[in-house]
């Protein structure tokens, strides 16, 4: 199970990365943490002529906070997010979700930006980005773009990223006063979830306000459950969001779990998440 041959470059500047990606087109692939790309190469389900290792670009690394937003650099590792005091303070949802991603050794290497770029429908970060109403920042030879998370995830492993475009970071608006809960069901610790929910709301007198529910494993991409959010808005935690979720989600069956079961599980999680937010 050895990867097919490829060339490797490790540019020292963003401009160099953009130039390389532009020049080599589809035959080049960005290498960040390698925790998804390298296994795909080893399994020979992916191939590339050139890997462009972006880990030398220090400006893409780390968490920073401004007056109204938190910025997570694309190269920030899952583990760094998990252990960041700023994240814990300003976007606790991310800190709650992080331990669910794989295992420590993988979290040490895997990056925030890599996970967003990969857009696995069962991954934690994309769903969190939806719940947090985050903005994805990109750069390419053509320039910079800011893409709202809700417009970024297009389908199964497919995003709004254009050829030659690199994610530089993710901006998250600060939402003081919101509570957050992250729940997921996976067969074993660290496995990709069967289904999971990233939930946020303000709590006022036992009712939930400004409810946001984003699901992982609920379809071919991370999904904001708009009907369920509407149903839950301004009420005490509801016990059954089944009909709303049926409109919001269209889970894909996997080998062990049918789409119907996933929908059922999403409803269970939604109820538990709302109760936890209120409680």
């Amino acid at each position: 199970m050895k990867a097919p041959a490829f060339a490797y470059a490790k540019p020292r500047s963003l401009a160099e990365v953009c130039a390389l990606l532009d020049e080599r087109g589809e035959t080049a692939r960005v290498l960040a943490g390698g925790q998804s790309l390298v296994p795909m190469l080893n399994l020979r389900v992916a191939a590339a002529d050139l890997l462009v290792d972006i880990s030398g670009i220090e400006s893409l690394r780390g968490v920073s906070v401004t007056a109204d937003r938190l910025c997570v650099g694309a190269l920030t590792s899952h583990r760094e997010v998990e252990q960041s005091a700023e994240v814990a303070r300003h976007a606790p949802l991310l800190a709650q979700a992080a331990p669910h991603i794989a295992h420590v050794a993988i979290r040490n290497s895997g990056t925030f930006g890599g996970s967003i770029a990969l857009a696995d429908p069962a991954a934690e970060w994309p769903a969190c980005c939806l719940a947090l109403d985050a903005t994805i920042l990109t750069i390419s030879k053509a320039g910079k773009r800011s893409i709202p998370a809700r417009a970024f995830f297009k389908g199964l492993f497919s995003t709004d990223l254009r050829p030659g475009e690199l994610i530089t970071g993710v901006e998250i608006p600060l939402t003081p006063g919101h509570r957050s809960v992250f729940l997921e069901l996976s067969r074993r610790r660290g496995d990709y979830a069967i289904v999971g929910v990233a939930a946020m709301a303000k709590v006022q007198g036992g009712t939930l306000q400004d409810v946001r529910l984003a699901f992982l494993g609920g379809g071919d991409r991370p999904l904001l459950a708009v009907h369920a959010m509407k149903a839950a808005e301004g009420k005490p935690p509801l016990a059954d969001l089944g009909p709303a979720l049926a409109a919001d989600l269209s889970p894909m069956a996997d080998l062990d779990t049918s789409a119907r079961t996933k929908l059922h599980l999403a409803n269970v999680l939604a109820r538990r998440a709302l109760a936890a937010l209120a409680g």
Partner: protein
Amino acid sequence: MTARDELPVKDSKTRTQSGYIGKSEPRANAKRLLQGRGSFIDDLRFPRLAHVAFLRSPHAHAKIKSMDFSKARAAPGVIGVFDGRAVAEYCSPWIGVLGHLKGIKSPPQYPLAIERACWQGEAVAAVVAETRAQAEDAVELVAAEWDPLPAVIDMHESLSGKVVIHPEFEDNICFSRQIDNGEVDAAFKNADVVVEESYSFGRHTGVCLEGRAILADYNAGEHMLTVHHATQAPHMMQDIFSKHLNLPEANVRVICRDIGGAYGIKVHVYPDEMCTAALSIMLRRPVKFVADRLESFLSDIHAREHKVTVRLAATKDGEILAFDLDDLTAIGPYSVYPRTSGIEGNQVVNLTGGPYKHKHYRASLNVVFTNKNVTCQYRAVGHPIAVALTEGIVDLAAQKLGMDPAEFRRRNMIPDDAYPYTGAAGMKYEVLTHHQCLDKLLSLMDYKGLRAEQAELRKKGVYRGIGLAAMIEVTNPSPAFYGVGGARISAQDGATLRLEPTGMLTVLSSVTEQGQGTEGIFAQIAATVVGVTMDKVKVITGDTSTTPYGGGTWASRGAGIGGEAVLQAGKALRSNILDIAAAILNVDKADLDIFSNEVIDLASGESKLPLAELGRVAYFRPDTLPMKFQSELMVTRHYTPREYGFTFTNGIQASLVEVDVETGFVKLLKHWCVEDCGTVINPLLVDEQIRGGVVQGIGAALFEECHYSEDGQLQNATMADYLVPMSGEMPDIVCGHVESKTRTSELGAKGVGEAGTAGAPGAVMNAINDALSSLGARVTTMPFTPERVLDALGKK
């Protein structure tokens, strides 16, 4: 007196023995592994080593129309590309049948399929290159054309015979067997209670962390093939390489160094491994094959795909009258050589109902071919199925009778004083201890307390379940297992003990080590019997050119058979040592003993002669010994169990689970196992054998299944998709023992390596069903995924 005190390893008058038997001695050979200094096959470095990768069939069943090797041959680093015909010139085919499995049939199998591939993953061409990566690159360049054939995937469809897989046969039935003992129909007719259920077992596999591995090194100058092989049975493989590669037996040497897990997976003949050995001869250089994870899933034997319907008849007083079962199992396109793929099903019909004293028993078995990967013996062969369906139906009967499941079992278990006993299935048991084990288990787990807690929690909407699974287990098999059927698989084992000049003791054994602790317990036995300290003992295993001939490691036989050979060799060596001491000291042998590396005076315990001094005299100054006296400081003894077909053991497990009835998730809270392996040589190692085995059984119950698509594609051939048990979900496991020694050997040890795996799936299933019982739900299809639990609950 405890069982250990009565051990026969010393004369009763001895007061001085420091026995290691029964002690939790850590294994000396673990130290190198802890430092990463083991030597697994893939760690070996050879000059001119070539690497092989295989082109494997992408179809479940297809004719090979053509293969074009020209591009592959021209690829960088490629040494050669070969098809089935080329390799068949060097390696003859084999047929996986046994004489005592009446009517079993299977077609000839070749190292590389020649005309037709019969499962997705069957090797059809071999590429040899300077590196494994280059070999894999070139495999992608082989242009193969296929003619897909209809594939038989479902076992019922196979049984129907509408499509016959092998043209030389009339149907797809590899083997079938019927047992009908007593008056089964009458028993069911007269029963107050009859319960029936169908159980389904997911096909799963061993997932050794180290893939199958072989490094074959043919030396043309000597016409000698040395095979470094991750195998559990080196002598069996020596015989097979010799026969099929047409080399004199003495010109084949099989060496097993460290092996990264085996569990039965590495005791079979694999076509790609035979091919690797043939390639070494063809290319006259060392060739290595290590199965990567994809190849492991596609070509390591799978196991346990069964669908069974079982019925139980009982009286209203709770007496079990009869079992009746119908087992259908699918084994892939070939019966695996040389043990056959009929044994697993055969064990199911031999073992079902085993712990109980019913008189009537009927079983019907059909073993059918399919176009999936082959199945064969994997740890606990047949037991997990027999135990789960016995214990599942027993629980169902108890439920229907309104009896506590522990009490129902107690009423029906064979009494501890009834042995020797022949069970209704015809198996002969020498001595078992079901009742002692049950009692010990119930007190160990505080059964009553748990039941009370369960009832309390139920009121709060928490669904806990307690499941029991009693079992019998085949260990220490006699030649009746394989030898009588014509397989050249040794049921006996040998041990050679040699006292070295410095007083050290070398032990050579035909049993192999894959981490069970074989070498450790043999050191304990040898040290105890001879009278030396553990640090003086060195154990050597896994080399056909140096160790005595024997069977190796499988069917929980290492300790019981190989250990007895060590014991007997130790007794003989000790006697020889005392002869020499008597000659040197000029005293009566009967007045001497050996203790802690010294010959001592038996009566006073006074030191008379260090063994190092005895060794010096015997090896370097024999001139000082009496004229006609010849010292013999190396002794070999063998042992074969023969009185019983198998030395049966018994035990019982319990599982405590909590089911989240909204999500169908099962949380394992705790697990218990009490078993009787006779003499416990090393409690530390025995308990870890059990725990490791239990977790493999839990894997079967909750996680592991090889998913095939309707056209025979294995859909989860990665470790991300095939779920094995990991630390996060596993419970702590409490072990307990009852020791009833087998009288067939002096050591008294029965086997233990498979007990955990045998009982765990049944215990977990019963625990889940106990949790669900008040909701009227029941699961019967393993593994018990959240989906299946929710299905049973009618949620979704």
